[in-house]
């Protein structure tokens, strides 16, 4: 129980709750993420994946239920506390990279460290070290628009990892990458998870990308429909299992 880094209890999100057009995007989501987990979240469009990721990444508040990160309830935090909590505990990676195009790669990576008030010398050392690990050390004085999609995503990863956060939250991280860069990125995630014990929660709609995770939940109509673990399966077998579940879900929808 002590190694739980993320925990949700009866999580519910209703959009336009006070109007006639109320839409329940999520309901009864109970999930535990342990330290070192590589959790995948799959589901069709509109199933509630993005709402789920917004709830657990403190971007949005649930209508009901609770989100605990590192043992702290997100609901009880003020707006300023949330900000601090984010850069201390969470690292974000998005499909569209979400880098500041006005700033250099160095400045983008350094940003979370400045928020944590780390001294400039340490910032320099850590940025250089992580950029070497991710093979972007020759790009530090460039701006994101001068870099390729893969380089930009690696910059986003460097920014997400620089503060050693408890959890990496990735929303469709391969969405804007070609297959080669996608594969490279997923191998990097796998390595970070295996060697550094980094906890990763990743949303994807791609079965192949999902096959890199160690555990996978399927969300349908706002609720968790299936949960699978890789356990002893090799990647191909795990992939086949994911495809089978995804196809079964599609067939059920067609019949309905």
């Amino acid at each position: 129980m002590d190694d739980i880094v993320l925990y949700t209890k009866n999580l519910k999100k209703v959009y336009n709750a006070d109007s006639l057009n109320a839409v329940t995007a999520l309901h009864d989501i109970n999930i535990e993420v342990h330290k070192g987990d590589f959790l995948g979240v799959m589901g069709p469009s509109g199933s509630g994946k993005s709402t789920f990721i917004n709830m657990i990444s403190t971007m949005d508040y649930p209508t009901d239920g609770h989100v605990y990160i590192q043992g702290k309830s997100v609901m009880k935090m003020s707006a300023n506390e949330i900000g601090r909590f984010r850069y201390e505990n969470l690292g974000f990676i998005f499909q569209s990279f979400n880098l500041l195009d006005t700033h250099t790669i160095y400045e983008n990576i350094a940003l979370p460290l400045t928020l944590a008030k780390v001294d400039p010398k340490t910032i320099e050392d850590r940025v250089v070290t992580i950029s070497k690990q991710l093979n972007i050390d020759n790009l530090l004085n460039k701006v994101p628009l001068e870099c390729s999609g893969g380089q930009r995503q690696r910059t986003a990863i460097a920014r997400a990892l620089i503060n050693n956060p408890g959890i990496i939250v990735a929303d469709e991280p391969t969405g804007a990458l070609d297959s080669e860069n996608s594969e490279e990125l997923m191998e990097l995630f796998e390595k970070l998870n295996r060697e550094n014990g980094t906890t990763i929660v990743m949303v994807t709609h791609d079965s192949y990308v999902a096959s890199f995770t160690s555990r996978l939940i399927f969300i349908r109509d706002g609720a968790i429909s299936t949960e699978i673990k890789r356990e002893g399966l090799d990647q191909d077998e795990y992939f086949q299992k994911i495809v089978a579940i995804s196809s079964a879900g599609r067939s059920r929808r067609k019949r309905a």
Binding site: G83, Y87, N98, T102, T104, E107, L113, T114, P120, V143
Partner: protein
């Protein structure tokens, strides 16, 4: 249907529409006053009523050459540049709307009409108001002239009105044409899945890469040129105009090649200690890169008119015209800088959303915004003060300018910048609070 859509679009971009109308209002007022004053100077027309012996002075001045025509061209060009950037600011957020129209099969004519209705509605409000204000201003000027003991008056002349209307029609036509071409182009870029950011000038790494010898040489020349006007401190105002123009050209390169990389180095070496400094310096670097041409134009134009003002003896009316030119340039160029800056700032909500995601608090976001705007306008003010101050000192030393003249000209250059600083903060404050729409 198309009218309703255009009205809805105007409502959705209310603050931009107000800025657009305000610029048309100011431009109309300035042009109206200007043409009537310039017509009074031409002397070829009977609209200047000279009721005293000053007639002889005026003819003498006309023999020396007409400063009015030259300055009129100058002001009209400034109006066009101002409207160009104002228009850019107004239509930028309409690219997405137009892309949607294009997807739905709208023709070029349909889209042109859509923009035309919006522009014409704003002009219908702002142009008559501008004319009325211009009429009032001419009355005020006549009153001031009478107080100075001058006996001639500026009237609203037919000749000036014909010129004014011709220029105004051309401005309106030009603006509509710009609206259509820009919006069509940006709509097409969005349709093709492109990034509007890519349409901006992107020179990348802010000069932090390796510098070839030629670049270093050019930078040295630019620094020498930029500090050349300081020569006037010690050597009077003999070469004021030429040194000022060379100086502002050098400054343009210094800003691009030395100041911006300096901000990058500052962020890399010590500036990263504070988040607000790191972010605001990065934004400022972008602002300066985006606006440096307009800043350069402001300084250059002010210096040119200033040196014209003190280059020879003028009659009261001609002197007044040069003063109005100076004030007009200061207002129009400040507005141009503001619109150029705000065009870039209008897309900043995405950056602020990213800052929230990373953990920057709302209070820190506000501080970043104020820090960026303060640094931007302080830098421009500092440049204006350094260059204009050098010129003023030189003119004062040589006895060509009095203290009251210097104070008035300084205030005329600085006040529009202060007003646009405040307007920028109001607009930017709204931008950073906007939710992301996509």
């Amino acid at each position: 249907m198309i009218f309703k859509e255009a009205m809805r679009s105007l409502r959705n971009s209310r603050s931009k529409a107000i800025f657009f109308a305000l610029t048309f209002f100011i431009t109309t007022t300035l042009l109206f006053v200007y043409f009537n004053m310039a017509a009074a100077l031409t002397g070829g027309q009977p609209e200047v009523y000279i009721t005293s012996a000053n007639q002889a002075d005026l003819f003498q001045l006309l023999e020396k050459g007409n400063a009015g025509n030259l300055m009129m061209v100058f002001v009209v060009v400034m109006c066009f540049i101002d409207l160009l950037f104002c228009n850019d600011f107004f239509v930028k957020n309409k690219a997405k709307e137009l892309a949607v129209h294009m997807i739905c099969g709208a023709t070029y004519l349909h889209m042109a009409m859509y923009l035309l209705i919006q522009t014409v509605l704003l002009m219908v409000i702002s142009i008559p108001l501008g004319i009325l204000t211009g009429y009032g201003l001419i009355g005020l000027m006549n009153h001031l002239l009478a107080m100075q003991g001058e006996t001639f008056v500026i009237t609203i002349s037919t000749y000036a009105m014909v010129e004014f209307i011709a220029v105004l029609v051309f401005v309106v036509f030009w603006t509509i044409l710009l609206n259509c071409s820009f919006a069509y182009k940006s709509g097409a870029v969005l349709l093709a899945g492109g990034n509007m950011g890519a349409m901006k000038d992107n020179r990348g790494a802010y000069g932090m890469g390796s510098k070839p010898a030629v670049q270093i040489l050019l930078n040295i020349i630019a620094v020498v040129a930029a500090i050349l006007p300081l020569y006037n401190f010690f050597n009077g105002s003999g070469a004021l105009a030429i040194s000022m123009v060379i100086g502002s050209v050098g400054l343009n390169r210094v800003m691009g090649s030395l100041l911006l990389p300096l901000l990058t180095r500052q962020n890399r070496k010590g500036g990263t200690k504070k988040t607000i400094e790191l972010i605001s310096n990065g934004f400022l670097r972008r602002d300066m890169q985006f606006c440096k041409v307009t800043v350069f134009l402001l300084i250059c134009d002010l210096l040119v008119v200033m040196t014209m003002l003190f280059s020879r003896q003028y009659s009261t009316l001609e002197y007044l015209l040069v003063i109005v030119t100076y004030v007009s340039i200061a207002i129009l160029q400040s507005l141009t800088i503001m619109f150029r800056l705000e065009t870039d700032l209008s897309g900043r909500m995405h950056d602020y959303h990213i800052l929230s995601q990373v953990g920057v608090s709302e209070a820190e976001k506000n501080k970043i915004m104020h820090s960026e705007v303060s640094k931007f306008y302080l830098l421009i003010l500092a440049l204006v003060i350094i260059y204009a101050g050098t010129a003023f000192f030189s003119l004062y030393r040589s006895g060509q300018a009095s203290t009251s003249q210097i104070l008035f000209l300084s205030a005329a250059a600085i006040l529009p910048l202060i007003v646009t600083d405040v307007l920028t903060r109001i607009y930017y404050g709204q931008v950073i609070k906007e939710p992301l729409r996509d």
